[in-house]
Structure formats: C-alpha cells, structure tokens
C-alpha cells in the first residue's frame, strides 16, 4: 500500500442535479433537484471518513458519485490523481476493483433469486478472476469464513438469512476484489441495535487487516464517532463542516453540527444541565433550496448576511473547516453541549 | 384537474389519429376488392374503371387520401361511403348502433347483477362449498367460447328451433328495435344478454372475490370491526367500496369494446349491430366500413380509458393527476 502523502481521493466542486420533467409525449425539464451542489474534500489513505447529515442531504448521492454509480453534473473525483470520469470500458471496470460499496438495505441489496455463493462470486465472474470452478468456490468460502458466515451455507438463498448475516454477505461481496476504497452507505441503519455493533466491528477489523480506506456514511453521529478519523457534515447538498473526529465532537463550529450533536442522546457523566438546540421547521426542498447559506432558514444564529452571501468552507481552528459566517462560540457549545466539550478535553 | 383532463383528451386525439393512420395504411396496402372494379360493369373497359377510380379519389397518393379522409372525419364526422352499397358509413353505423347498445347495456346490467353478489358472497364464505362451486362454475364460463355457448343455448332453448323450447326466448335473427316493440325487443335479447354476460359475470366475480379478500385483510377493516360495526356494514361499506375500484377500470374498457361491436355474439344471434356490420364488411373487403367501425370502436376505447382514469382518481384518493 502506498504511503505517499497524496490523498487517495480528491473531490472537487462536485455537483449533481436531478432534472424534474413533465409532459406526456414530449417531456420538458421544469427544474432540478440539487442533491449535491458543490462539494470538495479529500479522502486520505487508510483513514475512515464519516459523512453525516439528515436524510436527503446528499450523502448517499455523494457516495454514488464517488464510485461512479452516478455521473456528476459537474466537478471531478480524482482517484490517485486521476479523474474517474475519464474512465471508460475496461478502465471503468478496473475502477470498480479499486472502489467498492456496501449498501444500506441488506434485504434489497441481495438478489433474492441467487444463492449467496453466486452473489459473492459475482465480482470474480464479472472481472474474470478465478475462472476455475473449484477455486472460485474455495475463494468464496474463504470470504464467507472471513466475514463470519458458515461456508457450508454456500447454496442457500438470501431469504434464509437474518439481516445481520445478509449484511455480512454484502461485506464479503464488497471486499472480494480487495478494493482500495470501501464506501459503506449507512451499513447498519437497517439493523437491530444489537446487531449493529457486530457489523461495525467486522468493518473495523477488516479495515485494519486489509489497510482499507473507508468512507462511512451515517445519519447517526454516535455510530460515526465510534468508527471515524474525520467527519464531514452535509446539509442540503453542501458540505457545512469537515473536521477530525475529536474536533467535531469536541468543538463543533457550525450551528447545524451543533444541532445534530445536541439531538444525540449522549450520556452526560457530568450530570450538568444543557440547553437543547432544537431545529425549527422542516428541511427545505432541495429542488428549491434557500439562497446563500442554506441553513439560514432554520439557524438560530442567522443574520441578514446569511441570506445574501454564501459562507465559504474555511479553516476555523483545530483543523476544522466550516462554512459559516457566525460559527458557534465556546460559550455556546458549553451551554448546549456540555458533554461534547468536556469529552474533548 | 382541468389541465389533466385536457391533456388526456389531447393524447386521446393523438392515439385516435394513430389508429386511423395505421388501419388506413394497412388496409390500403393489403389486397382488397378494388371498389372501382366493383362499381364498373362486367367486361368494363379500363377507361371506365379509371374514371370511377378518379371519382372515388383512388388515383391519388395514399397520404392525400388519408388527409381527405381525416379532414372529412373531423369536419363532418363523415366516414365515407360503402364500396358496396354506396350508403354513407355514418348512416349505416347510426342505423346499427342501437342494436349494439341494447346488447351491451343489457349484458352489463346482468353481469354486474350476477358477478358482484357472487364475488362478495364467495369472498365472505371463502373456501366454503358455495365459494368453491361458484368459482368452479365461473372458471367454466371464463373458458367457454361465447359463440359456442350461444349455439348451445339456441340448440337447447330457442323458441323456434330449441329442443326444450321456451316460448319467450326468440331465436337468432329475431331482434327488433326497442321502438318497434319493447316487449319483443326485450325477449329477443334475453338469450344474447345472458350468453354475453356469462363470461364477464364470471370474470367480475373472480376479480371482486380476489380483491375483496385482499381488502378484508387490511388494517382499517380490522379497525372497523374493532369499533363494533356490524359485519355487513364492515363488508359493504368499508370492504366492497374499496375492493370494487379495480373493477371500474375493467368495466369501462369492457363496455367500450362491446359498444364497438360484439362481433361474436352479434354473429351467433344474428343481431344487426356494429359488430355484424364490421364482420360483413371484412368478408366483402368493404374498406370504408371496416375503417369506420374501427374508428368508432377506437373512439369508445380511448374515451373509456380517459373516463376510467378520471373516475379512478375520484374513487381512489391515492391517485394523483400528473
């Protein structure tokens, strides 16, 4: 594994708009859902990057753009310095060997008509690896063993497995090609809490053993904290804060991050009181997002400037990047998130 | 809502023009009787034939003929003249429509009156002997060709030729208009109505039973029961009302297709309806009538689809106008 300082992936000004069209015979576009609207960040080799945000904020779209399940409206994704949008044919296929994904729903991510043996063998078949039947089967069973499945269940169908087992199947499929980058899109949100930890531990284990770079997407900040080195927070298609784990949880700067943290039921050893910062109103429609700072309609600290000028994502100390004209102060954090600040200390 | 209806109507017009164009081209390209030859006398000279061709506009290119046809259709609902009798297609169809409508609506009444109760009872008494025998009978009727059923009924019961004559069941060819003699009209249609309705009654009973069973398993039915409503109220008010919605789609289309001519039934019972007209025209290669009846039937079908969509939206609030 390369240890060069160059990030594994560089994301620059990534935009994805989904057109909204209407018409029976001739369709015309009448608008667009701005799912991802200008996002830039790096993924460093070997790290685990968390991406969090509410449902619909664009995190899953971002993940799909990273592995080219979607093509961006504009912007670039560089893998080891090379634009993945340029990949075609065999090159594109090869790209999929480097980047793999684990999906959110273990029920729908496995084809109910195929045995798990053939599901896990798919990557080999597609990429023409281990063509010999016996060898392929052995490889698949190794993988099953490695993710904690009984290799003898090779011929069973997905419906015969529990949710956690299914997610392990998904993991086995994703690591079969030994990718450089593994993107886990809310891998445990559909699972029972008791099972979640097992799957998370499996992922951490694999990351350590295989030296994987992991992008971990979640809407649950506590899960991310358990897994990640750095965390990116998204709101309505924009990156609002990007910080190392400790910085984010210790001293969130963006009011939105603050609100998210304040909603997490963190056990508070200090027993002190805290003032919950509740988000008012609904998330605005991504088809028609608010001007300038998109959070200004719901932000407790919003001022006139926020509605007219978009704040850049910039260094706010402690390696934290945040896009906010009026970031949270230490006092505010202390008042609202006493546990957070104390944990960081 | 208005926008939705207007858009559906516009699309309906497009569909209709497509149907007309396809039939036009198709029947133009395939061999049929040359109407000019038909009109000309025996051993007629090519000169006469070409004159008649010119009279009928047959010497013009297809697209011109199509355009003329369309123009007359839109401006005057003029569908041309029969190659055979020279009568206007519009008047021929107007003349035949009452018989077809009589046949259709009588049959619809019967199949709903039979199919719906049977469907409901079968669903409620699911797996009972009653249910099983009703559904078994239904499947037999679904499988029986309507014309054969017609012959069989005529063979057994017709007042004129039947083995077990039933005096008021007049046989084939006994149709008279409603205005001529309401009683005779009614009696002469009894057999065709029942024969035509048999298959549909069976289908509707099966459909309704299936969808009622699904509906009765829904949560809101359980809620209604829990509220202590009497069972028949639960079934009729809550169950049947929503279970019947899918039938509306089928019903609209069925009526439309039959209004366009119940060819088989009209043939067996010799009822002078649109279907018979079309059938005779096809055997004679009388293109204007073929085209006219297909256009009429297509209009019914397209309109029915639109009406059904709109009705569906009323009946099922989940459907949105998009």
């Amino acid at each position: 594994m390369s240890t060069s300082a160059e990030p594994l992936v560089q994301v620059r000004d990534l935009v994805k708009h989904f057109p909204i069209s209407r018409g029976i015979v001739f369709q015309r576009q009448i608008g667009a859902v701005k799912a991802v609207d200008g996002v830039s960040f790096d993924i460093r080799r070997g790290e685990t990057l968390g991406i969090v945000g509410e449902t619909g904020c664009g995190k899953s779209t971002t993940a799909r753009l990273l592995v080219r399940l979607l093509d961006p409206t504009s912007g670039t994704v560089l893998l080891e310095g090379e634009d993945i949008a340029q990949r075609k044919g065999a090159g594109l296929k090869a790209l999929h060997r480097d980047m793999q994904m684990i999906f959110q729903d273990p029920y729908s991510s496995l084809n109910p008509r195929k045995t798990i043996g053939s599901i896990i063998a798919d990557p080999f078949v597609i990429h023409g690896l281990h063509r010999e039947e016996g060898e392929r089967k052995k490889r698949v069973q190794d993988l099953m063993d490695r993710v904690g499945l009984n290799p003898e269940h090779y011929n069973r169908y997905p419906h015969e497995f529990s949710g956690g087992q299914r997610q392990r199947i998904g993991v086995a499929r994703a690591i079969a090609l030994q990718p450089k980058l593994l993107i886990a899109d809310e891998p445990v949100s559909a699972l029972d809490v008791s099972i979640q930890a097992q799957v998370l531990n499996l992922l951490r284990e694999l990351q350590r053993e295989m030296g994987l770079t992991l992008v971990f997407i979640a809407h649950d900040l506590s899960v991310v904290r358990h897994m990640c080195d750095r965390v990116a927070v998204m709101y309505l298609g924009k990156l609002v804060e990007l910080a190392p784990n400790e910085s984010l949880y210790g001293f969130p700067r963006h009011p939105y991050t603050g609100a998210l943290l304040s909603a997490v039921p963190v056990p508070d050893p200090s027993g002190g009181k805290r003032e919950r910062q509740l988000l008012s109103g609904d998330v605005p429609s991504p088809a028609n997002p608010p001007s300038a700072c998109r959070f200004h309609t719901r932000c407790p600290k919003a001022q006139e400037l926020c509605a007219t000028e978009e704040p850049p994502l910039e260094e706010k100390g402690r390696q934290t990047l945040a896009a906010c004209h009026f970031p949270l102060t230490e006092d505010e954090v202390r008042l609202r998130l006493p546990a957070a600040l104390s944990a960081a200390k | 809502m208005i926008r939705y209806i207007v858009r559906r109507l516009l699309w309906g017009v497009v569909l209709l023009v497509a149907v007309i164009a396809i039939t036009f081209v198709l029947f133009y390209l395939v061999p049929n009787v040359n109407p000019a030859v038909l009109r000309a006398g025996r051993n007629s000279s090519p000169k006469i034939i070409s004159e008649i061709s010119a009279n009928l506009g047959l010497n013009k290119p297809v697209y011109t003929q199509f355009w003329v046809y369309l123009k007359r259709l839109v401006l005057h609902f003029d569908l041309g003249y029969s190659y055979y009798s020279g009568a206007s297609v519009k008047s021929l169809m107007a003349d035949r429509l009452p018989a077809t409508l009589s046949l259709t609506f009588g049959a619809v009444v019967i199949w709903l009156a039979v199919g719906i109760p049977v469907g409901i009872i079968s669903a409620i008494k699911r797996r009972s002997v009653l249910d099983r025998s009703a559904m078994g009978t239904a499947l037999v009727f679904v499988s029986a060709p309507v014309y054969w059923l017609g012959l069989l009924v005529l063979f057994l019961f017709a007042a004129d030729i039947g083995k077990f004559k039933i005096p008021f069941l007049h046989g084939a060819g006994s149709y008279v208009g409603l205005t001529t003699s309401p009683l005779h009209w009614f009696e002469s249609l009894l057999m065709p109505w029942f024969v035509l309705a048999a298959t549909s009654a069976a289908i509707y009973a099966r459909l309704l039973r299936g969808s009622l069973i699904d509906v009765m398993g829904e949560d809101y039915i359980r809620t209604a029961r829990a509220k202590g409503l009497p069972e028949h109220t639960v079934v009729m008010k809550h169950g049947v009302r929503s279970a019947i919605t899918p039938l509306v789609t089928v019903l609209g289309l069925d009526i439309a297709i039959l209004m366009g001519g119940a060819v088989l039934t009209e043939t067996v019972f010799d009822i002078p309806g649109i279907g018979r007209l079309n059938y005779d025209a096809i055997t004679h290669g009388d293109f204007p009538i073929i085209q006219g009846t297909i256009v009429l039937a297509a209009i019914f079908i397209i309109l029915a689809n639109i009406v059904v969509d709109i009705a569906y939206a009323y009946l099922d609030p989940r459907v949105r106008y998009t």
């Binding site: 798919d122 | 209709l16 149907v19 499988s143 029986a144 005529l154 063979f155 299936g210 789609t249 119940a262």
Partner: protein, 326 residues
C-alpha cells in the same frame, strides 16, 4: 386474474403488484422446489396439467392415435356417409363423434384440431411473451426515449379493437399472406396477430417490474461491481421476472386459444382442409339444430382445453403467491 371475456379478448389490467416467492420454512430449498411442492399439492391444477400433457401428446401423435382408433384421416371425404340431402350421419360405432357434411370423421378432426389450438396457444404466447419481456426490459431498464416510444406504441395498440383488427388482418392476409409472403395465411397469420396485439400486456407488466427492480440496491451493487448492462438485465433483473412472467403467460395461453378459435369461427383464421375447432363450430352453425354432433364435440374439446389451461394458470399463481389464495 387477467383473462378477459372471450368476447372481449382483452385482458384486464394486471392486478398483481409482484408475485414474489415468499420464504417458506427455513430449509435449504430453492424457491423453485418450494413452488413445485405447493403446486403438486394442488390436485385440480395437477390434474389439469396432466390433461394438458396428454393433449400435447395426442396432438403430436395424432396420426398414430387416429389409426389406433381405427378412424379415417381428418380430410378423408366420404360422400356415402351423407344422405341424399347431404345431411351427415351422427355418432356411430365407427364414427364416435359422427361425420361432417363432407363425410369427414369428426372425432378425427377434433383430434387433429388440437394441433392448431396448441400451436397457436403455445407458440403465439411464447412469441408475444418473448417480445413483451424484451421490450419491457429495454423500456424499464433504459427508460428515456426507448421507454416513451415503446409505451406510446403500446397505448396505440391497446386503443385498437383487437378482434375487429384481427378480423381485418386475417382477411387481408388470406390468400397471398402478408409482408410479401413472409407470413403465410392460417396459423402463421393468427400467431402474428396474437404477437402484435399480445405483447403489450406482458410488456406493461415487465416494464413496471423492471422499473421497480432497477431501483433495488442489488442492481446498484452489481453495477458497482462493474457488471455490464446486459449482465444486469439478464442475470440480476430477469431471474426476478420469471415468476410473474410464467403466471401471466400461462393465463395468456387460454386467451390465445380462444382468440384463434374466434378468428377461425369468423372465417378468417385457419381454413379447411386444416381442422380447427373454431372453424368446425363455424361450419356447424348452418345446420347445428340437426347436425348437433358437429357443433358439440369441437366445442367441448375447446372448452376443456381452455379450462385446463386456466386451472393450471390459477394453480401456478397460487403456488407462486400463496398469500393470494383463491
């Protein structure tokens, strides 16, 4: 249930969302094994299935069976079997189903008639299913213009009064065939009509299912593995369509058999000397009150065949979707 009234010859809109193989007991049984077990338990459907198998054998070995029964061939004319007015004789020991006005043996013709019905029912259904599934896959998978175009085309086809249209085509192709002789009159023409009219039902069902399947994560998973579109369509999506397609096409078979019989009845389908049940019934209409056997037996054969296919179709549906027990 999707079989339309025989007069209508049009299906109702598919009422089934998705027929899924529902997990049964947790054993290492494939969905097909589960399905087979359930189907086998359905005695009516099994009996119907056996009837159909026998019928297919009868159709294939018609010449053999006719000679074993000691019957004359289906087109052997014998004027001695009609009286001075041309009225044929009724059922006798030598001619169990009687003879027709040409002195041809009705039983022999009923046996040979199974060939036409099955050919049209099975080949017509197979072809329209193939076309419907292929186009449905393309439209549902690629969406966009392909979808718009194909769906609009289906709308147009569904706006036709199919029976009237079939009558027209049947008459038009009667002598020289259609498309410069590429489609021969008779069975081929009927199959062509069935395919032209019938693909839309399967198309709509397939398209709908593909539209929802393509949003499933296993499709994304395959794509993220680098699978090609073709592989996704055929290896990921298609296997999930097999069950509903089997159910719908099994219910289309009886509809198509009735359609052939109706066209032949109306005189534009299969024509003599080829024996077809519908054509025999048509032929019998002019004298059915005296020559009742000529009307009765082909009709019964048709009824039983269609009924058997309907029962098997119902059985398949129940076996594949035990929730919808009917």
């Amino acid at each position: 249930m999707s079989v339309g009234a025989s007069e209508l010859l049009v299906e109702g809109e598919p009422s089934v969302e998705a027929i899924e193989l529902v997990p049964g007991e947790v054993t290492a049984r494939s969905p097909w094994q589960l399905f087979w077990r359930r189907f086998r338990a359905d005695r009516v459907a099994m009996a119907s299935g056996i009837f159909i198998v026998l019928l297919i054998l009868v159709a294939i070995f018609a010449p053999l069976i006719v000679s074993i029964l000691g019957l004359p061939g289906p087109s052997v004319q014998n004027p001695n079997l009609t009286d001075a007015f041309g009225t044929p004789i009724g059922p006798t020991g030598a001619h169990p189903f009687g003879v027709d006005p040409l002195g041809e043996d009705v039983m022999s013709r009923v046996i040979y008639g199974a060939r036409v019905s099955l050919e049209v029912g099975i080949i017509g259904t197979a072809l329209s299913t193939f076309l419907g599934v292929s186009l449905g896959l393309i439209a549902g998978f690629y969406r966009g213009w392909a979808d718009t175009g194909l769906s609009r085309l289906a709308d147009v086809v569904l706006s036709f009064p199919i029976l009237l249209f079939g009558l027209g085509i049947g008459a038009a192709c009667a002598v020289n065939g259609c498309l410069g002789g590429a489609i021969q009159p008779g069975v081929q023409t009927i199959i062509a009509i069935i395919v032209i009219a019938g693909w839309t039902y399967i198309y709509r069902i397939t398209r709908g299912q593909v539209l929802s399947l393509r949003e499933k994560e296993f499709v994304e998973a395959a794509r993220s593995l680098g699978a090609s579109n073709r592989r996704i369509m055929f290896r990921e999506i298609l296997p999930n369509l097999v069950a509903p397609i089997i159910v719908y096409s099994s219910l289309l078979i009886p509809v198509n058999i009735l359609f052939e019989a109706a066209l032949s009845y109306l005189g534009v389908g299969v024509k003599p000397p080829t024996a077809s049940w519908g054509q025999m019934i048509a032929d019998a209409t002019s004298n059915f009150q005296t020559v009742w056997w000529y009307m009765l037996f082909p009709g019964v054969a048709l009824l039983l065949t269609v009924l058997a296919f309907n029962l098997v179709g119902d059985g398949l549906q129940d076996a594949l979707n035990p929730k919808a027990d009917r």
